[in-house]
Every structure is written in structure tokens, then in C-alpha cells.
């Protein structure tokens, strides 16, 4: 993975730039000392690191606007960052770029219970919205596993998912309004404080959500709140083969049941977790499915019986259903601990994020086994089965020369296989720098270009988060010339008109 070469001229101006920015945000909110900048070297992917030119922590939309104006005037790049939990390197700093950290914009501006929306600043951690909504019997549904830490601004930038998005949707399905600062210095307000506020307009909210900080800095977000589900129960179903488990996933969805969550864990994950939790599974178990059902008590009871029947038909060897909230939490604990349990089993691991059409699950699992043999690296599987979103965990040892490269190559091959099976590179982690160079495998040049030219409408100087998502710059300045070429006709004289 290669980032654009840092501009030494900009680095030489660090001191002068820091002084300009301190005048905006206050002296203590610009970090220029190397010891203070170092902790910001990476986000959730520690394999990629760079010490930022400066770290700036503004406190308001007005301050962000002023910071962007200075950066634009000085031709300095900007990387926006929430809590830095990105799993694709979306917030990886640039050595010649300002890291714009939003954690001081952390106010819940308004809870509008009657219209069931919350207006919050971008630096508010995801979980705080649901906590604030809970007294009213409401919640903010998208729940990425980072929700204790990750900010709603980061969730919007990445269009984060989570365990419940099979039934309740991703971040973009829950945003009704945005305030954002453009590189031009303009503050734009899209949508508003109720569902449908942006209907009949170009869906710029839909475009900005998931744009990975390349188009604008989102400063305020209005999200939809929904009633807390009355009750939920989770089923734990063991299968003697991965194929049986995959068949069961298809049978549940095919029967018209949309569970609140449907998770898959293989034997290796179960072993890792068992050593932490001392939880025994039938020794024949090759794969475990967790299926959460919510609704009213009577509805859940009926659904559990239907899922039990489908699981039995698919060859389940053990089926349990939680009867109390404590049991439900205990069953989920194994899933929630999966990644840290694997972390204890191996020196290092690398987890990626491809998505496939659900009915190709057995094929992709076969392919992973084959790749594991080719690269000589072990792996484990723990993923969102209901929506075909894979998180293969590739184990390696960073201290062993060449191991990281092999792990990355293994991950890239898995993602290529996902695309070849009709899937995509990323289901919820984003492209960032991690999958950037694979974009040409998923998109034809014209398709990639059609996305990339949007940069010209938002940030023609390409100062916002450059080097992310797309394998090459947009070169907006050349866009005008492309028009002329594009205007040349293949059949200049077709007689239709």
C-alpha cells in the first residue's frame, strides 16, 4: 500500500501553520509536538501508520470552517477523524496533512421525541444517542461493534453497519438531516428534523453518507429514533458441517423470516471463545449459528418454533433458545468476544470485510480453505451470515518476515473471490486505504470514473482525505478536457433526429 509522496515544502511550514490554526481553535487544541502527534499515527488498522503534520481539535462548525479555509489557502491536505476506529484505514493520517479530530463536537443538540429524531454533533459516540433516547422508549438502531467508542460522524462517513442491520438497515437508512462544511468554506444544511425532509431534492445525504471523508466534513447529524424492541431472544444452533449451517441460513431467509441478527462462527472461533468462557459445545460442532428474533413475546415464541423446525431440517445437532435476558447475554457473549479470543490464540490477525450473494456462502468458504493452504496461514470465520457479509480472520506473526505481506495477499484474494462471485469488496468497513487498490477489480474504468468525478463538485483541489478509496487522484483540472473527448461521436450521423 503506497500513499502519495509527502510534500516536504508543507512539512517545512509546520510551525507557521500551527500558529495560524492556534489563532482559530486556541493554543492547546493544536498538537504540533511529535510526542503528542504520535498517538494519532493509525486508526483501527495498526498495520498502516503515519504521523500527522498537525493534529487540530476544533470545538464548533465555525472553527472547522475557519480551519478548512486556512488549509485551502495554504494548499494543505486534511484528514477528518472521529475516534479513529476505522477498520479500513479511512482515518490514516498524512505526514503533510492536518488531522482534523472532531471529538470536541460532542453535544446532543436536541432530542425531539414527538418527531422521533435526535440532532447531534458529529463527535458524539454512537452509544450515547441510544442512552439519551432510552428514557423515552426509543433507540438509535445501527450498532456497529465499535459503538461504545466510534462517533456518529465516523459512522456517517463509513455508512457503518452492525449486527442488527439485516433487519434494521445501515447508518444511511437512519439519517434524515446533515450539516456539512465544504472545502469552499460553505456550510450546507441538507434535509432537516423529520423523515422526508429531503424528499424531492437530489439525495446529497445519501451521497455523503459512506463517502469516507472525501467530499465534505459532516458536522451535525439528525438521526431517526425508533421504539426499543419489546423483547428479544437468541437461538444458538450447532451444525456438524459448515454446509448444513449455510443451508439453514438460506432456509430461514427463504421462509420469509428476517431475524434481528444472524451470525455464523466456525469451530476455530468456538474453540478460542470456549477457552475464555469455559463454554462447551457438542464436539461434533463444525459451525454455530446465532439467530436473534425480536417482537412481542408471542411473536418470538412462534418464530422460535419455526426456526427450530428449519434448523432441524438442515441437520442441526443442538438447538438452544434463551429464556431469560441473562441467558441471551451469555449466548451473545461468545460472538462479542470472538475477535479478542482469536487475538489471544495467535500473534497477529488481519480481518477483512467482503460481501457475497448469500447463496454463494459455501463456495466462498471452500475458496478460503484453499487459499489458506496456498499461503500456509491459518484463518477463522465469524461473520454476519444473514446478509452475506464476511469477516475472515487471517492469523499471522508480524515478527516473521513476509508474514504480513502473505496475510494481506490472502485477504486480497478473498476479496477478489467475493467480487468474482457477484459480491463486493466491503460490506461495512469501507474501502479506505486497505481495499483501495482492489477497486479496479470490482469496477470497470468508466464505473470508477463516474464515482470519482463527484470530487470535482465538492473538492476540486482534492485536499480532503486524498489517497483514500480510489487508486488514483481524480485530476479535476483535466475534467474539462475529458468533456471534449467524451463529446466525440461514435456514430456522428445517426439519422434518428
Amino acid at each position: 500500500m503506497r500513499m502519495p509522496d509527502p510534500d516536504q515544502g508543507v512539512i517545512a511550514r509546520r510551525g507557521a501553520l500551527a500558529a495560524r490554526l492556534r489563532a482559530i481553535v486556541g493554543a492547546q487544541w493544536v498538537l504540533d509536538d511529535e510526542a503528542e502527534r504520535r498517538p494519532y499515527r493509525c486508526d483501527g488498522i495498526t498495520a498502516y501508520q503515519a504521523t500527522p503534520l498537525l493534529v487540530v481539535l476544533p470545538a464548533s462548525t465555525a472553527e472547522i470552517r475557519a480551519v478548512l479555509a486556512v488549509c485551502r489557502e495554504q494548499g494543505v491536505k486534511i484528514v477528518p477523524r472521529g475516534s479513529g476506529t476505522s477498520l479500513s484505514g479511512g482515518a490514516l493520517p498524512l505526514e503533510d496533512g492536518v488531522l482534523l479530530v472532531t471529538s470536541r463536537l460532542c453535544a446532543i443538540v436536541a432530542m425531539d421525541v414527538e418527531n422521533r429524531v435526535a440532532r447531534v454533533q458529529c463527535g458524539v459516540p454512537n452509544i450515547r444517542i441510544s442512552e439519551a433516547a432510552r428514557p423515552f422508549g426509543l433507540c438509535y438502531m445501527p450498532d456497529p461493534s465499535s459503538q461504545m467508542i466510534s462517533t456518529i460522524g465516523g459512522n456517517v462517513a463509513e455508512n457503518s453497519g452492525g449486527v442488527h442491520c439485516l433487519k434494521y438497515g445501515m447508518t444511511s437508512n437512519h439519517v434524515v438531516g446533515l450539516e456539512a462544511v465544504l472545502m469552499s468554506g460553505e456550510v450546507i444544511r441538507l434535509g432537516g428534523g423529520f423523515q422526508g425532509a429531503a424528499d424531492g431534492e437530489l439525495d446529497l445525504i445519501g451521497l455523503l453518507t459512506g463517502s469516507e471523508g472525501l467530499l465534505a466534513v459532516v458536522t451535525e447529524i439528525t438521526v431517526r429514533l425508533v421504539p426499543l424492541p419489546e423483547a428479544a431472544r437468541v437461538m444458538s444452533m450447532s451444525f456438524a458441517s459448515v454446509e448444513d449451517a449455510c443451508r439453514c441460513v438460506g432456509a430461514i431467509i427463504g421462509a420469509g423470516i428476517i431475524p434481528a441478527g444472524l451470525e455464523f462462527m466456525d469451530r476455530k472461533v468456538l474453540n478460542a471463545v470456549a477457552s475464555l468462557l469455559r463454554e462447551e459445545h457438542d464436539p461434533r460442532t463444525a459451525a454455530l449459528l446465532l439467530c436473534e428474533l425480536d417482537g412481542t413475546a408471542a411473536e418470538i415464541d412462534a418464530l422460535i418454533e419455526r426456526v427450530r423446525g428449519l434448523a432441524e431440517q438442515a441437520g442441526a445437532i443442538d438447538i438452544r433458545a434463551s429464556r431469560t435476558e441473562e441467558e441471551r447475554e451469555r449466548i451473545w457473549r461468545s460472538r462479542k468476544l470472538a475477535f479478542s479470543a482469536i487475538g489471544k490464540m495467535c500473534k497477529d490477525y488481519y480481518c477483512t470485510d467482503g460481501t457475497i450473494p448469500r447463496n454463494r456462502l459455501p463456495d466462498i468458504l471452500d475458496r478460503m480453505a484453499e487459499l489458506s493452504r496456498t499461503y500456509g496461514l491459518d484463518y477463522a470465520n465469524c461473520f454476519h451470515a444473514g446478509d452475506g457479509n464476511l469477516h475472515p480472520i487471517i492469523m499471522y506473526d508480524a515478527a516473521r518476515p513476509g508474514d504480513l505481506d502473505k496475510a494481506e495477499a490472502f485477504g486480497a484474494d478473498v476479496l477478489r473471490a467475493c467480487v468474482d462471485m457477484g459480491g463486493v469488496l466491503s460490506g461495512e468497513h469501507g474501502v479506505g486505504v486497505e481495499k483501495r487498490d482492489l477497486m479496479t477489480h470490482q469496477f470497470a474504468p468508466a464505473d470508477l470514473r463516474q464515482q470519482q468525478v463527484l470530487k470535482c463538485a465538492f473538492d476540486p483541489e482534492e485536499l480532503l482525505n486524498p489517497g483514500k478509496v480510489f487508486p488514483s487522484p481524480c485530476r479535476c483540472a483535466e475534467f474539462g478536457r475529458m468533456h471534449v473527448r467524451g463529446g466525440e461521436m461514435r456514430f456522428p450521423d445517426i439519422p434518428r433526429f
Binding site: M170, F194, D199, T296, F443, A457, G486
Partner: protein
């Protein structure tokens, strides 16, 4: 004023390569194109002045439908009714309940296309609970204003790879690209439904009662207040399994509603189709129609203000109050030129946005079908369109907000 008073020449390609050729030819001549499906809803949005109409209705292939994977891929020209019939055959549906609205414009509903449904981005009564059209578009193929074919999105349930062009193009009224193919997420249709009708206790009270109901975990998928015999009626729809619907219905008792009438499944379905297509408004063929997005908490006051100003003859609320439809008589006092801006101003005071859903071409051309936007947002939207359609030849001006000329957009 409208430049072309005569019907445009119609181009109706049967493949994507021909769509691209038509656009490239228009581009080389700097000629505007009216982009349509089968043209059943041409009255929606601003009138377009173009000598040539590009109809996507000739693209009629169903690429695949995989019910177990909850996904369907069809050409833009496949009729919406055909898609819905195909899904119903497998017990599935389009959850956003797209309104057809063709009858409002004198079009034949059976000819309305899925491409038109996505290009207009209209969502029906269930939207407040399950999401809008844009939330169910997984992938889009189209031809941009340079005549270049492109694909965006994919077919998987989850996908955050690159910018979400599918959402951007949904509801873009053919102003960025001619949509050629769509990949949609579908869901299992609920086993049954039931609707409770209650007499209105005044709009403000009704909206507050609905807000309280919608804050509880009930399977409510319809919450409207509609004209009924002797006044208005509050309609609450429940969907789900038969025991679930019965259980939720029991819980509605004591929600502050008077005793009501129950519509069983078949009757309920028919009732909501009348809500969705606005039949319940009883609009005359000359009436203008408005679609107003407004915070539910401001809906009752807005309705009072509109009635007091004698701007509307009939109105209804949907989405628990966040969506208002109303009729404005052609002979409204002060004439449309005075009444249209007055209605928009009252909507804006209530925090809402008023879209002129149906009106004669000259009135939409003069006042704009869509309300004004903040200048920064309008300019950003215009720049966004321009990178897809640099010469502005695709449906020019169709989405232009009130007060903006077609050239600006």
C-alpha cells in the same frame, strides 16, 4: 416560457448501446432530451422543453429474481405492476409501497415503469416505518449525459464500496443519467394486515395520539388521517403474522383512541391503495395537488392555516402527520399565481416543503414544482449534476427549485 409547444419526437431504444447512441447524438448537437420511461407521469416535476423524448420503456428484460437472496434485477422499462406481480408470486413485495400516481396525470397505470418509480423516488404510506425507495436500491445502471454507460452499486444486501451512487440517482428525475437497469432489495410480504379506523378528534389531537402510538414497539405500518364521511378519520394499519397482528391490535386499546371500525385484510389492502394513490382526497380533474413534507408536530397548525386562507379544498395526512397532501381548486381565490407562493410560504413557516404534485404546465413552469432551496445547496446540486451531465441535456430544469432557472440546474 416553454420553447416546444408540440410533442417531441420519441426515441425508444431496445438496448443500452442504443440509449448511449441517442444521448451522444444529442450531446454532439447540444440538444436537450426529455428522459422518460413510458411517459405516464410526465406531469410530475417541472415541464421539460426538448425536441426529443428518450423513452426507456423499450428496455424490458428481467435479469434475475432470487427470492431466497431477497434481490431482483430488472431493466428500467419493466412495468412496476409486473415487478409487483412477480414478487407477489413468491410472497414478497417492495416494502416502500411505491405510489403509481399515473392516473393523476391521465397516464395508464399498467404502463408505469419501475425505472420511473425509482427516478421519481416516491415512497408510499409504509415509508415512515420501513424506509424510502432509496433504501431499497442496491444497484443502478445508467447512461450519463456524455452518452457513457456505467454501473453503480451491486446486488448484495450490504455494500459500502465507493460512493453510493444508487441513492444519488434514486429520485434524480433523469437529470443525471438515463436509468437503464435497477437492482432492488425485496422483502417477504407480511402474512396479513388489519386497519383500524377511528373518528378524528381534531388534527392536533390525532397527530399527538399517532406520535404516542409510533413511539411504542407496535407493528404499525400505516398512520394516516384522511377525509371520511362526516369529517376525517384516523387510520392505523398493523401488519405481521396473524397472532402478532391480533396481539398488537389489542394493545392499541387504551392508546387514547375512541372505539373504531376494523378493516380485515382484503378491505385494508384496498383502503391503503386508495390512500397511496390519493383517491381519498376526492380531487377534481382540474384541481391542483400538493405534496407537503412537514414535521408532524407542525402539520395540524399548517392545515388550519391553509384552510383559513381558503387555499385548499381537501387534505389528508400520512406518515403520522409528516406528509400532507391537499387539493387546491383551479379557481382558488387570488388565482394560482397568488395562491401557489402563499401556500409555499405557509408551509415554510411550519418548517415544511411544498411540492406541486400536479398543476397545468404553465403554472409549474412559472412557480416550479419544487420549493426553493438554500442557495448553497442548490449550487451544490447543480455542480453534482454537471459532473454527470456537463452540457445539461438530460431533463434540463426538471428538478429546478422555485426561483432557479433551468440553466442553473
Amino acid at each position: 416560457m416553454i420553447a416546444h409547444l408540440h410533442d417531441p419526437v420519441v426515441c425508444r431504444p431496445a438496448c443500452v448501446a442504443d440509449v448511449a447512441d441517442v444521448v451522444r447524438a444529442a450531446r454532439s448537437k447540444g440538444q436537450a432530451l426529455e428522459v422518460a420511461g413510458n411517459g405516464t407521469r410526465r406531469g410530475l416535476g417541472n415541464p421539460v422543453a426538448a425536441a426529443v423524448r428518450l423513452e426507456l420503456g423499450g428496455l424490458g428484460h428481467v435479469h434475475f429474481y432470487e427470492p431466497d437472496d431477497l434481490v431482483i434485477r430488472v431493466d428500467a422499462g419493466v412495468p412496476l405492476a409486473d415487478v409487483e406481480r412477480m414478487l407477489a408470486g413468491q410472497g414478497q413485495y417492495l416494502p416502500f409501497e411505491p405510489p403509481c400516481h399515473a392516473a393523476l396525470y391521465g397516464g395508464v397505470p399498467a404502463r408505469s415503469t419501475i425505472g420511473g418509480a425509482i427516478a421519481t423516488g416516491l415512497s408510499g404510506p409504509r415509508r415512515f416505518q420501513v424506509g424510502a425507495a432509496r433504501d431499497f436500491v442496491l444497484g443502478v445502471d445508467g447512461v450519463n449525459g456524455q452518452g457513457e454507460a456505467f454501473s453503480a452499486g451491486g446486488r448484495t444486501m450490504k455494500n459500502v464500496t465507493g460512493y453510493d451512487l444508487s441513492k444519488l440517482l434514486c429520485g434524480s428525475f433523469g437529470t443525471m443519467a438515463a436509468l437503464t437497469r435497477l437492482t432492488l432489495k425485496v422483502l417477504p410480504a407480511p402474512e396479513t394486515e388489519r386497519t383500524m379506523l377511528f373518528p378524528s378528534a381534531g388534527l392536533a389531537r390525532d397527530v399527538a395520539v399517532l406520535a404516542a402510538i409510533l413511539s411504542r414497539p407496535l407493528a404499525v405500518t400505516g398512520a394516516a388521517i384522511v377525509p371520511a364521511e362526516g369529517g376525517m378519520a384516523v387510520a392505523v394499519r398493523l401488519e405481521g403474522s396473524a397472532p402478532g397482528v391480533a396481539e398488537h391490535a389489542g394493545r392499541l386499546d387504551g392508546a387514547g383512541l375512541p372505539p373504531g371500525r376494523v378493516l380485515a385484510a382484503a378491505e385494508s389492502r384496498l383502503f391503503w391503495s386508495h390512500v397511496r394513490e390519493l383517491d381519498v382526497l376526492g380531487a377534481g380533474s382540474d384541481d391542483m395537488l400538493w405534496r407537503i413534507h412537514v414535521p408532524a408536530t407542525g402539520a395540524a397548525a399548517l392545515a388550519d392555516a391553509l384552510r383559513q386562507a381558503a387555499l385548499v379544498s381537501s387534505l389528508m395526512l400520512d406518515w403520522g402527520g409528516a406528509l400532507m397532501f391537499c387539493t387546491m381548486p383551479a379557481a382558488v381565490s387570488g388565482g394560482p399565481d397568488g395562491a401557489v407562493p402563499r401556500l409555499r410560504a405557509l408551509a415554510a413557516q411550519a418548517g415544511g416543503r411544498a411540492i406541486l404534485l400536479r398543476a397545468p404546465d404553465p403554472i409549474r413552469a412559472a412557480h416550479g414544482a419544487f420549493p426553493a432551496q438554500a442557495p448553497g445547496v442548490a449550487a451544490l446540486a447543480a455542480r453534482t449534476r454537471r459532473v454527470f451531465d456537463p452540457a445539461g441535456i438530460l431533463n434540463p430544469g426538471r428538478m429546478a427549485p422555485a426561483g432557479e432557472s433551468a440553466e442553473a440546474c
